[in-house]
Structures are given as structure tokens and as C-alpha cells.
């Protein structure tokens, strides 16, 4: 936040660098079931962000001392590919990714019915293939689609979105320059059915009213993203159903001959 620059982030018409209105999201695309090996997966593009999420489990938690006899643990590993950012990132976790992994794990644990799977682990892997501001929201949003694709029982999806402040204006979903040169960023995640916030961070400088406005803006946008998530899952189920239908058809076909 807050690096100085001469870049004008909002033009005279009130439009942002990429032409968006203050409360407009970048384009979001989600595809579920994109990997073969994982139990569930999702690919998400959010502006120039490209994120892949995969889920394995419930499976035996390993190492053993992590096991909880009353419920499953949700372990998320958020990772950035070395080539996903301007300057190559050294492989392996850094402090930032450890923190993000922790808060995403906590947010997902809110909706997963962990009580059904004692001693198990539900492992969520988020790979940022290309980063362009907002990867934690993109990753969490993709991860909850991957969980659903894996058939992990959940109370609801989790949806994440950020809002922030640039040039004294509260705006939705900061882009890269807005993130670098803006005044504040508020990434959050909600459970749409209950409206509860399960992830919430903020950094920058906001008056209370600005903070509340930003939160409301991001929460509203989350409901739009929720529809995109559900649509991706619907399309995925259609494909799966189609495949199953094909299998039944060809079995019947075979039975005839």
C-alpha cells in the first residue's frame, strides 16, 4: 500500500485505469474439474490472475500428531509459481504464503463439515500461476469450488472479494497498480447463506465509514461471484452427468448386441 507515484488511478470520468467503474469487478471465469489426479479441482481467471485449486481428501491426516479425534482438519497450501510474478519467486513457502495459507484454511474450515471425518485431513492446494493483485481472494474462491467438485460435504461455498481506497475513493477489487499505489485494501470472504465474514484483513488508512463502505461493497460483489461459482459447478455436473449417461448408453448398447 501507499507507494508514491504520479499515475492517475481514476480519470475525469470517474473510471479506473482499466476502464472499470468504482464498484465494478474484473472479469471472472471459473472452470471446475480440470485435473485428473486430484479429488476435486478448479481453474479460475480473475482479471489477469490465473489460479488453480485442487483438493485431496478426506484422507488420513499425516503426520499422525496432526490428527484430531473429533473432526477433520483443513490444510490449505497457498503457493505462487516461481514465474507468476515480475521478479522470479524462489520456490517454497515464504512468510506471506504461510500467513495466507493459514487464514484460507480457517475460512474454509467454517463451511466444511469436518465433524463427519474425524482423524482425517482435507488438503487444499492453491497454485497461483499468474498473479495480478487479489490472489488470496481468487485462490479462496477457486478452492471452495474445488472442494465442491471433490464432493466434500459443505454447509455452503465461501466467496472472497476485496475492496479498497484509491485517490480517496472507495473502489471494488483493486488491480495491480491500484494495489501498489492505493491507500487501502480490504480483502474479505463471506459465507453467502449466513452472510458471515470468515476472512477479513485490512491494511492502509481508512476512516470507519470508509471501511464499512468498502466491506459492504465487497460483500455485495461476493454475491455476484457466488453465482459464477455455482454456474461453474452446474456446468461441471452437466459434464459428469453426460459422461455417466454415455457410459450407461454404451452399456445398454453393449447389452443389446
Amino acid at each position: 500500500m501507499g507507494m508514491k507515484s504520479d499515475i492517475k488511478l481514476i480519470d475525469k470520468k470517474g473510471l479506473r485505469l482499466d476502464g472499470r467503474k468504482p464498484d465494478e469487478l474484473r472479469p471472472i471465469k471459473i472452470e471446475a474439474g480440470v485435473l485428473k489426479r486430484a479429488d476435486g479441482s478448479a481453474y479460475l481467471e480473475w482479471g489477469k490472475n490465473k489460479v488453480l485449486a485442487a483438493v485431496y481428501g478426506p484422507r488420513e491426516a499425516h503426520p499422525r500428531h496432526l490428527q484430531d479425534s473429533s473432526k477433520a482438519i483443513v490444510q490449505c497450501r497457498y503457493n505462487m509459481a516461481p514465474f507468476s510474478v515480475s521478479d522470479r519467486k524462489r520456490p517454497g513457502p515464504d512468510r506471506r504464503s504461510v500467513e495466507i495459507s493459514k487464514i484460507i484454511s480457517e475460512a474454509l474450515e467454517n463451511v466444511v463439515m469436518t465433524e463427519l471425518f474425524p482423524r482425517s485431513s482435507i488438503d487444499v492446494f492453491i497454485e497461483v500461476l499468474e498473479a495480478n493483485a487479489g490472489t488470496r481472494c481468487a485462490g479462496l474462491t477457486a478452492a471452495s469450488v474445488a472442494l465442491a467438485d471433490a464432493g466434500v460435504p459443505m454447509r455452503d461455498l465461501v466467496v472472497a472479494c476485496a475492496a479498497g481506497k484509491i485517490e480517496d475513493t472507495v473502489v471494488l477489487d483493486l488491480g495491480k497498480e491500484e494495489d501498489n499505489f492505493g491507500q487501502a485494501d480490504v480483502p474479505l470472504a463471506i459465507v453467502p447463506r449466513t452472510g458471515e465474514l470468515v476472512l477479513l484483513q485490512m491494511d492502509g488508512d481508512l476512516k470507519q465509514e470508509e471501511l464499512f463502505k468498502a466491506m459492504e461493497m465487497a460483500m455485495n460483489a461476493s454475491m455476484q461471484i457466488y453465482e459464477i461459482q455455482k454456474d461453474a459447478l452446474r456446468r461441471r455436473y452437466a459434464v459428469v452427468a453426460e459422461e455417466e449417461k454415455d457410459e450407461i448408453d454404451s452399456a445398454q448398447e453393449e447389452a443389446k448386441t
Partner: protein, 263 residues
């Protein structure tokens, strides 16, 4: 009884008390434990402060050296924050490299110092692009009885406010007091079922569903926030805590500035 059953009973007990607005240690819902701030306890460090928040005991120390600035900010000094949850402080802390808990602590404390602009880092440039003052802030957790966030933030600001930059040692003029610009303080709330409390003790942390830490500055602006744990907050709950954090932040800031003789 299993660990889980015990935790469940403890949770019910604490929650039951809270519904009657009582805490197990006798505090009000939005009351801090006793706070004691001792700046300058480590002579060999350029700055230091020990903070007791009830039985939670945190020591912050600052070492200063010269070094190169980051290439994208050539004219500002560098502040690096690290936290060690040493095994002395709790039977559940282990030796070894920083784990997610200590990394989150140091990053959240650091975020508030940075975003809250506690120091004017521009004044710590020696030669643009070449040489700046580099500050290492180390949080050493000595005794863990809950709410390391607020204790760590207090100790950090107090240590910074007590810091002398050792310029003469580097033949860069006279030593000078680190210029404090803002006084951000962190206030942390825990939600146990549907009751929120301020400054959770270890016992309360153990049964809490959700946690929210809010950094405010002396103008009541919010400078950093961090939610934790797998429970959720409603928007109204957050609004309520943000408002309380401004008020409680003022109390904390007074204690802090009194202790360090702040402006």
C-alpha cells in the same frame, strides 16, 4: 474425559459466565488486563521494552545497522519485524524455525507499524539508493497467557519510541532519538459463541470461535485488521468492534505514551 470433552465443558462454562457479563478472571467484557510497560530494559539494544499484559510477558528489542535500501524504495529506511514463540513461554511452543502462528503474529504486528506509519522511514535514509538505517525489531515471547497481538504491538511501539539511532558509532553525526510519527495500537477481540470480549486470556483463546484484531491510530483511523480462527463475524459485529477499538485504543495509547514519555 477426552481433551475435546474437557474443552467443550470449559467452553460452556466460560460462555455461561459471559452471558451473565462475567469473565472467569472477573473482568468486564471490554476490559484489558493490567498493563505494565517498561521501556529501555536491554542496555545493549538500541531500543527495547518489556510488556506485561496480565501474565502475558513480551520483550521487544531493536538492533540497528546500516545497509542498502530496497531497490523500489531507495530513500527510506528498513524495518524488519520478527517474532519468536520460544518454548520457554508455553508447553505448546516448540523450538525451530518460525511456524504459522509466529509468522502471523509478526506479520500482523508489522503491518500495523508499517501502515500506521509509526516511524517516518524517510528520515532514516543516509544516502539515497546507497545506505539507509536498518532496524531489526525482535519480539521475544517470554510467558504466554493469551493475546500476543496487542501485547506485541504495544511492546513494539514502546521499544521503537525508546530507540536511539547509533549514528556516532558509524561516524554519521550524533546519535538521535528515533522519530515517532504515529502511535498505532492494536485491540483484539475474541468471539465465544455470540459474545465478544476484549483482550482474550489464554483460556478464552482456547475456546474462542473467531478473533478480530484492529489497529487504530490517534485519529481513530483504521490502519490494519486481521481476522482469525474458523468462526465468522457478522458485518454488524465488525462495525461494533471497530467502534470499540477506537475508544479502547485511546486508553491503550495513553498508557503507552505515559510509559515512554511520548509527545
Amino acid at each position: 474425559m477426552s481433551q475435546e470433552t474437557i474443552a467443550q465443558i470449559l467452553k460452556e462454562y466460560i460462555y455461561q459466565s459471559l452471558t451473565e457479563k462475567k469473565r472467569t478472571d472477573g473482568r468486564e467484557l471490554y476490559e484489558y488486563r493490567q498493563i505494565q510497560i517498561e521501556p529501555g530494559v536491554i542496555e545493549v539494544a538500541e531500543g527495547s521494552a518489556r510488556v506485561h499484559l496480565g501474565n502475558t510477558d513480551v520483550l521487544a528489542g531493536i538492533k540497528i545497522a546500516t545497509g542498502e535500501p530496497f531497490s523500489d524504495t531507495p530513500d527510506v529506511g528498513v524495518l524488519t519485524t520478527n517474532a519468536e514463540l520460544i518454548p520457554m513461554a508455553s508447553p505448546y511452543f516448540e523450538s525451530g524455525p518460525p511456524n504459522p502462528k509466529s509468522i502471523e503474529l509478526s506479520r500482523v504486528v508489522d503491518r500495523g507499524l508499517r501502515e500506521g506509519e509509526v516511524i517516518d522511514l524517510k528520515k532514516l535514509c543516509i544516502e539515497p539508493g546507497e545506505k539507509v538505517w536498518i532496524m531489526f525489531l525482535d519480539l521475544h515471547i517470554l510467558d504466554y497467557d493469551g493475546n500476543l497481538f496487542d501485547a506485541g504491538a504495544l511492546a513494539s511501539v514502546a521499544a521503537l519510541a525508546s530507540t536511539k539511532v547509533p549514528a556516532s558509532q558509524y561516524e554519521l553525526g550524533d546519535d538521535f532519538q528515533l522519530p515517532i510519527k504515529n502511535w498505532p495500537v492494536m485491540t483484539t477481540f475474541a468471539k465465544i459463541k455470540d459474545v465478544t470480549v476484549l483482550d482474550p486470556s489464554l483460556e478464552e483463546e482456547k475456546v474462542a470461535d473467531a478473533r478480530l484484531s484492529i489497529y487504530t491510530d490517534q485519529d481513530g483511523h483504521v490502519r490494519a485488521m486481521q481476522k482469525g480462527l474458523n468462526g465468522g463475524f457478522t458485518l454488524d459485529e465488525v462495525k461494533d468492534m471497530v467502534k470499540k477499538s477506537e475508544e479502547k485504543g485511546k486508553e491503550l495509547r495513553k498508557i503507552l505514551m505515559d510509559a515512554v514519555g511520548g509527545a
